[in-house]
């Protein structure tokens, strides 16, 4: 049965912050290979849902199943270990570290020097090489993997954050407003990255306010309104205008 179970399945998930009910019982299935867009107006519960999926916040109630098995994410690191990586728009990278250092943050490669078995030194050369390979795989051209990330454009930073997720071999990648601060060219780069992830068979959950971007890459769309999921359907036949209407009214018609 495990093969047909959704990659990630939420049942009756609630989240309260004190008296405020951000999520009022959300059921959501994310199937392997989906590019699922989570849309909704401000305050609809998108951020709360993302934080629960990412392991940053525990849900107040309900159940999460990963490939059919109940799971509990204790921390973002825990979710990462289980194959779920989240890319936050602002918090994704450490600006003063280099591209390589960011990609390997939290999973540094080390080597030992012969004769000094206790001493683990960073294997900088191997990390630089593998970082270059990862970026090439995403078709991102960066001249020098030692460049500090603070010198990169917004889209390139997303690419670095994505490379880190791939480095963890994440099966599901959650992207929170990946195109919000980007120009046209940069947005195209990020959308291409999402298509490439989809082509590799990875699962993507995309949170976005940009309906055109959503329609360009998503395979499915879930609309949140007032802490509930009101619509969950394939992207076929949905264009940006209709999607915006769905977000505002909460109805498909």
């Amino acid at each position: 049965m495990a093969d047909t179970a959704p990659f990630l399945s939420l049942t009756g998930v609630t989240k309260s912050y004190g008296p405020v009910e951000a999520l009022k019982g959300v059921d959501l299935d994310v199937h392997a290979g989906d590019v699922l867009a989570l849309v909704g107006d401000n305050g609809a519960g998108k951020s709360s849902l993302v934080k629960i999926l990412a392991g940053a916040h525990p849900p107040s109630g309900g159940e999460i199943r990963l490939k059919g098995e109940p799971v509990h994410f204790a921390s973002p690191g825990d979710a990462l270990q289980k194959g779920i990586a989240t890319i936050y728009q602002d918090l994704a990278v450490a600006p003063r570290l280099s591209i390589t250092e960011n990609i390997f943050l939290g999973s540094e490669l080390t080597r030992t020097i012969p004769g000094l078995p206790g001493l683990h030194l960073l294997d900088k050369r191997r990390m630089r090489r593998e970082a270059g390979a990862l970026l090439t795989r995403l078709s991102v051209n960066v001249a020098d993997a030692d460049t500090p990330v603070e010198r990169l454009s917004g889209g390139q930073r997303q690419a670095v954050a994505l490379s880190r997720a791939l480095r963890w071999d994440a099966r599901m990648i959650i992207m929170d407003e990946p195109t919000a601060a980007l120009g046209v060219q940069e947005t195209r780069l990020v959308l291409d990255l999402i298509r490439r992830l989809h082509a590799e068979g990875r699962t993507v959950v995309l949170i976005s306010h940009n309906m055109a971007d959503v329609c360009a890459v998503a395979t499915r769309v879930a609309v949140l309104k007032g802490g509930r999921k009101v619509i969950d359907r394939g992207i076929d036949g949905v264009d940006a205008d209709r999607l915006a209407h769905m977000v505002m009214t909460g109805r498909e018609g």
Partner: protein, 338 residues
């Protein structure tokens, strides 16, 4: 023509300024050049300055301050600050005194006790900062006062002398290099500073711990979201820094052949000054141990040189203050560029 020339001049000046102030290497070079200028200047101004005894005095003073500054470097690169390094140094010296003089343990035990004590106190600061979310400035200010008080209480406000362990003062005062090269009687304390600096530099540049020191100072949230246990690593970093303060405590106790419980406050400011002068950013994420060592030498050469020129103590403090402000300003200028 003349305007053209002045413009070219202006451009090359600007690029020179950019090269010096904007890059880490430039900052190091600038600090090193300042040190050379200072040494040369004082050497010309006073014949006493370049006397061997005086130079060795400078080295001795730099050994203690330099080790403390190395301890501060780690913490400052994480974007934190440690005001307790000076009184922690004293507290570790007092603990060594308690083990060696009060309880009569062998030297090795006293040394280990001082280092462990430093690591535990540092870990306590780290715990306050990471787990209880007390701002580093306040947490370490509290530790500074607490440790100062404890040193005075434990010692009964009197110095603890190491008269029963004649080998203890030898640690810092003897000269291993002097045995090998008699014309170079460089005290062991300087050798220890050198070893501490090299080890600290390797850890900072080539280990996972060092990587997280930089990463925490660059974007702590990103580190946490990368699955790194940031609280744990912060406590480790403050503990390592504390253990290095323990080394400084042993050096100063060995040099004075006593643990002076009233000493220590004020050392943290010299340490922070040395770190900043050496090009480490107070906003975190950037810095080198080499810069810190150069910064320590600048501070002790200044202190020593001004004293030799009979500049009043009050004015020495004024000069140090001005230099710290200039160094921080250089850091801000550099940050604005990127």
């Amino acid at each position: 023509m003349s305007t053209d020339l002045s413009q070219t001049n202006d451009v090359s000046l600007r690029s020179l300024r950019a090269a010096l102030f904007d890059s880490a290497a430039g900052q190091l070079l600038l600090a090193f050049a300042s040190l050379i200028v200072l040494v040369a200047g004082f050497g010309i101004a006073s014949p006493n300055f370049l006397q061997t005894d005086n130079l060795i005095g400078i080295l001795q003073a730099t050994a203690v301050n330099g080790v403390l500054a190395v301890a501060s470097t780690y913490v400052i690169i994480t974007g934190g600050i440690d005001l307790s390094v000076g009184t922690l140094m004293t507290f570790c010296a007092v603990i060594a005194g308690v083990f060696l003089t009060y309880w009569g343990y062998p030297i090795g035990v006293g040394v280990a006790a001082a280092l462990i004590c430093g690591a535990l106190c540092g870990a306590t600061s780290g715990f306050l900062i990471a787990k209880m979310e007390v701002p580093p400035f306040i947490a370490t200010l509290g530790m500074m006062m607490l440790l100062k008080g404890l040193s005075l209480v434990i010692s009964g406000t009197k110095p603890i002398y190491f008269n029963d362990t004649p080998d203890f003062p030898v640690i810092a005062q003897d000269s291993l290099i002097g045995y090998l090269v008699p014309s170079l009687p460089i005290p062991n304390a300087v050798l220890i500073l050198f070893v501490v600096a090299v080890a600290a530099s390797v850890v900072l540049r080539s280990t996972v711990l060092g990587r997280y020191i930089f990463a925490l100072g660059s974007n702590e949230e990103a580190v946490r979201l990368s699955g790194v246990d940031t609280d744990f690593w912060k406590i480790v970093i403050y503990a390592v820094s504390g253990a290095i303060c323990g080394i400084a405590g042993l050096l100063i106790a060995s040099r004075l052949n006593s643990a002076q419980p009233a000493l220590g406050q004020g050392y943290e400011l010299d340490a922070i000054a040395a770190v900043v002068i050496g090009g480490t950013s107070l906003s975190g994420g950037r810095g080198t141990v080499l810069g810190t060592i150069i910064g320590s030498f600048i501070i002790s050469v200044l202190t020593n040189g001004l004293r030799i020129l009979s500049v009043a103590q009050e004015w020495q403090t004024v000069v140090t203050g001005v230099i710290i402000i200039l160094a921080v300003y250089a850091d801000i200028m550099r940050r604005r560029k990127t």
